[in-house]
Amino acid sequence: MQDSRFIRRVTDKALVSFTLDGETVVAQAGDTVAAALVAHNASPLRHTGLSGAPRTPYCMMGVCFECLVEINGRPNVQSCLIEVQDGMQVRRMHGFRKIEVRHG
């Protein structure tokens, strides 16, 4: 796994922990999920549905939709707009989202 390209500013903020695909990640309180993920390491957050190309957060302000992840079971969430919470379950996305059709 490639190390993060970012160096964290040292602050006295509290630490929170969440999981990325089941692996524990430590972040600072107040981080957006996208910021916490790019600070964690340099791996792509998702692969596109059209070409399978790897993607990582880009604009960090809700415009580019490159930072989509699944958060607590909800797919295609813009992780740059969500503040990380202790115990959050984040998953990378591969391809377009699926929908579950209930029969009956």
Binding site: G49, L50, F65, R74, N76, G95, F96, R97, K98, I99, E100, V101, R102, H103, G104
Partner: protein
């Protein structure tokens, strides 16, 4: 200021104008398309992309027949466009549903389909499904949908790729398209063609002119002696994020684009040339989609827009030659996508008055 000249000039570079231009080009004409401004209302950039027969012309047999003819010609037309442009317009005749929550509306559509069947004969088939039959055909349908109608003839295309394919096919055949050429005035040159001018002072001479300017036809049509009474009707559309899961049906209000997003549409409102989408209409569309297919309930909508349909008084097309007998033609219709295969073939025969010219009297401009 520029001076240009052409044998045949099409005013309007939307799906209707380009389809007719392609037909004339393939019949050997030299053609020049004058397309308007970027900010013009462009139904060709905002439409839903259906190739639809169900319910159309139930009380006007000539329209049902021409629509049926177009639907039948679509597969070959899509293949021709692919050959001429290299672009796949993603035509799929999947069959289409109309879903109902109101029993009277379902009965009304069933009566319309019976009328269509009566006009079209045994080649046409349809089904009326009650709630139980529909649940069997489409498990996952919403509980508030009490029934549906279905025909195997309906389908859809990618409408933006259709527009690109038509443009490309035309350009590959040495047809000329001028963008941003807003015709301000048309004058008849005695017995010898027409002079067109725009606000920049450009002058264009043409032997023949075909007016396919959508909502712009009203003002220009008058100069050629047409009534050309067209009015805008706004429709709102939503499109969702792309999904891997395929929607197992096509309906007139819900369709999954070949690229994966689900397009939701079907609102109708009269607000003049204002094409801005209204929030209450968008809310209605979102609720409708979830009522029909509850699995869509938390799918994200990523874009929405409003666009203006081009409506004649009775909703049927107008195919008309200028009342003074000059070489000016008016073509306007709501269903430019569905009818494109006819516009690209029959209308060339009609304009050129070949032996294969169709009888289009039922669609005259004088019927209003």
């Amino acid at each position: 200021m520029q001076n240009t000249r052409a044998d045949t000039t099409i005013i309007g570079g939307g799906v209707v104008g380009l389809s007719i231009a392609l037909g004339l080009l393939r019949a050997g004409e030299k053609i020049h398309v004058l397309d308007g401004a970027d900010h013009d209302p462009r139904a060709s950039l905002g439409n839903f992309g259906l190739t639809w027969l169900q319910g159309k012309g139930a009380s006007y047999a000539p329209y049902t027949r021409r629509t049926w003819q177009a639907i039948t010609a679509w597969p070959d037309f899509a293949a021709t466009l692919q050959d001429l442009s290299g672009i796949d317009v993603a035509h799929h005749a999947t069959g289409g549903y109309e879903f109902f929550t109101d029993p009277d509306e379902l009965d009304g559509m069933a009566a319309d389909l019976a009328a269509q069947s009566n006009t079209l004969g045994p080649g046409f088939s349809y089904e009326v499904l009650d709630n139980a039959a529909l649940k069997q055909a489409l498990p996952g349908i919403g509980d508030t949908v009490i029934g549906a109608t279905y025909t195997p003839h309906d389908g859809h295309v990618n409408p933006l790729r259709l527009l690109s394919a038509l443009r490309k096919a035309l350009q590959n055949g040495n047809g000329r398209i001028s963008n941003g050429w807003v015709v301000q005035d048309i004058r008849r040159n005695g017995d010898d063609g027409f002079t067109l001018t725009n606000a920049k002072g450009d002058v264009h001479q043409t032997g023949r002119v075909v007016l396919c300017a959508g909502l712009g036809a009203a003002a220009l049509g008058e100069r050629l002696g047409f009534r050309a009474t067209v009015r805008p009707q706004r429709g709102e559309l939503l499109i969702t994020e792309k999904l891997e899961t395929r929607l197992p049906f096509l309906s007139s209000t819900l369709r999954q684009v070949d690229e994966g997003g689900i397009q939701i549409g079907g609102t109708k409102s009269d607000g003049g040339l204002d094409d801005r989408e209204a929030i209450e209409k968008m809310r209605f569309l979102a609720r409708h989609a979830v009522a029909v297919w509850p699995a869509l309930k938390d799918v994200n909508v990523v874009r929405s827009w409003g666009a203006l349909r081009v409506m004649t008084e009775d909703g049927y097309p107008v195919y008309a030659r200028a009342p003074d007998g000059s070489e000016a033609y008016l073509v306007t219709c709501h269903s430019g996508v569905t009818l494109a295969p006819l516009h690209a073939t029959l209308l060339a025969d009609w304009i050129n008055q070949t032996s294969a010219a169709p009888d289009l009297e039922a669609f005259s401009d004088a019927r209003f």
